[in-house]
């Protein structure tokens, strides 16, 4: 796993949080839709955008990882992802 700030490190130095998932508008969402957001996961294999955390430095970042092969395609800070989305 390559931390965008600290470089390649053994995966044991990282904490995995799970997939980056947009939160629905709590006001607009029905109770069912909210429950789906809270509990359901995209459990199927594929390339996912995930939150990872480098424990010794406290850096959060996004990893694009193929969960079938464990291959990490790229990693970047969330702020960069937002910047990218804006552009």
């Amino acid at each position: 796993m390559t931390c965008p700030i600290n470089g390649p490190r053994p995966v044991s130095e990282f904490f995995y949080h799970g997939e980056l998932r947009p939160m629905p508008d709590p006001q607009a969402a029905t109770d069912d839709a909210w429950a789906d957001y809270v509990f359901n996961r995209n459990g199927a294999p594929g390339v996912k955008r995930e939150w990872w955390y480098h424990l010794p430095s406290g850096v959060w970042f996004i990893a694009e990882r193929d969960t079938a092969t464990d291959q990490v395609l790229r990693t970047y800070l969330y702020s960069d992802a937002v910047a990218e989305a804006v552009q």
Partner: protein, 413 residues
């Protein structure tokens, strides 16, 4: 020497038929299609045929019989669960287990060893008491014991765990057992086969045909089958199947690893589990120590091994059993565990008519094999959830009513 082995010496030709027939072709339609020829799928097929008279059943398996988590787990059987739903369900399972070898006429090496869940902290002791009290209420043989009782059961263990995590006591569950895992799949497979069920190995499901919210058929690598009922019993592959029909679930897949030592003369009688040290261990009929730890910390859909795992587990094994320093680890492996947020399974009917789930087996699926077969066959045959699985249905999450097995939150094995 049992007399029944005589025939092997007396007959010229090996006197055993095939356990499961090979079928050159799939039929055009089946009453029920079961995806997954692991213990769960085959058990459901067996009870469908035996208890419900439904024999026009195909069990489809992309690999080979029992090649998934059935053959990768650490074979621990117990019913000392925390929730009433869990305790009752697994109690049924343990009772079925006890008769299974005779049912099948196949020796599963169902070996009653006694099961100790070690507590290293006072909060763990509290949880043990909670489990014991719930268990006892439902007639399950569990009790909280002190460190002296643990010492008596396993005098060679270092109760201080090298000073890292002194053992204060344990939850003792007398019915805790181990069994020969592959044979369970074979036993159910043979029994189902004998009753007319077709087992199709190397047959991959590529799609599920749904019309107006109802199951109509299954697409496979060997052609299309018409059916109105599909039971999905594929553990770590469940999300791939549910994705085909657009059902969302809380399942997430993490690898679960295990390792085994070289064969040793038997010395470890009970099954030991330590939540604090992330160790569970038992000794098989072959004399190997089978050891496991906690789930891998991130999602992954393959069965690769990591060295971190054997390092951590070995270190904690030596904390508990310092004299194992020179005992060698022969092999490590992994399975894919389909986890749920509340550590309880995901079973029963779904929003798609005729599509039944048998999933969410995380790290607790092997011991559930008979009960899941029994309850799922009932559910499929009657299109009505069996009462023992009502706490395990998918819609509990929309009711914000998880089944709190997670409250036990030690190692879930």
């Amino acid at each position: 020497m049992p007399w029944r082995l005589l025939r092997f010496a007396l007959s010229k030709k090996h006197p055993e038929p095939r356990m499961f027939r090979a079928h050159a072709e799939l039929k055009r339609s089946y009453d029920v299609v079961i995806i997954g020829a692991g213990g769960h799928g085959l058990a459901a097929a067996y009870y469908l045929a035996r208890d419900h008279g439904i024999t026009n059943v195909a069990v489809l398996e992309q690999g080979y019989i029992g090649g998934g988590n059935t053959g990768r787990n650490t074979t621990i059987i117990r019913s000392n669960y925390l929730t009433p739903e869990g305790a009752k369900f697994y109690d049924m399972s343990v009772k079925l287990w006890q008769d299974l070898s005779e049912d099948f006429d196949l020796n599963l090496f169902y070996s009653n060893r006694g099961h100790y869940t070690l507590a290293h902290t006072d909060s763990a002791m509290r949880t043990m008491r909670w489990r014991a009290e719930v268990n006892k209420h439902y007639g399950i043989d569990s009790e909280v014991v002190d460190a002296a009782a643990v010492h008596k059961a396993c005098p060679m263990m270092d109760l201080s765990c090298n000073g890292h995590a002194p053992i204060l006591g344990a939850l003792f569950h007398a019915p805790g057992s181990i069994a020969r895992h592959d044979a369970v799949a074979w036993g159910y497979g043979r029994g189902a086969d004998q009753r007319g069920v077709e087992i199709h190995q190397q047959t991959k499901v590529t799609g599920i045909e749904i019309v107006a919210g109802k199951v109509k058929g299954v697409h496979t690598s060997r052609g299309h089958i018409a059916t109105s009922k599909v039971l999905c019993a594929v553990a770590g592959s469940t999300p791939r199947i549910t994705k085909m029909i657009g059902i969302d679930t809380p399942l997430f897949i993490h690898p679960l690893q295990a390792m085994v030592s070289e064969p040793l003369k038997p010395w470890l009688d009970p099954i030991l589990v330590s939540g604090s040290l992330h160790v569970y261990v038992s000794q098989t009929a072959r004399g190997e120590l089978v050891m496991g730890a906690s789930l891998d910390p991130y999602e992954l859909h393959n069965t690769r091994s990591t060295f971190d795992f054997v390092e951590g587990l070995s270190s904690h094994m030596i904390d508990m059993f310092p004299f194992l320093a020179d005992v060698k680890v022969v092999r490590q492996w992994a399975g894919m565990a389909d986890m749920t947020p509340d550590f309880a399974p995901l079973m029963g009917k779904t929003e798609v008519e005729g599509f039944y789930l048998d999933a969410g087996w995380g790290t607790w699926g092997f011991k559930a094999t008979p009960a899941s077969g029994k309850t799922m066959s009932y559910t499929v045959a009657n299109d009505r959830n069996h009462e023992l699985i009502e706490g395990f249905t998918l819609d509990r999450f929309r009711k914000y009513a998880p089944t709190g097995e997670k409250g036990a939150a030690s190692v879930g094995h």
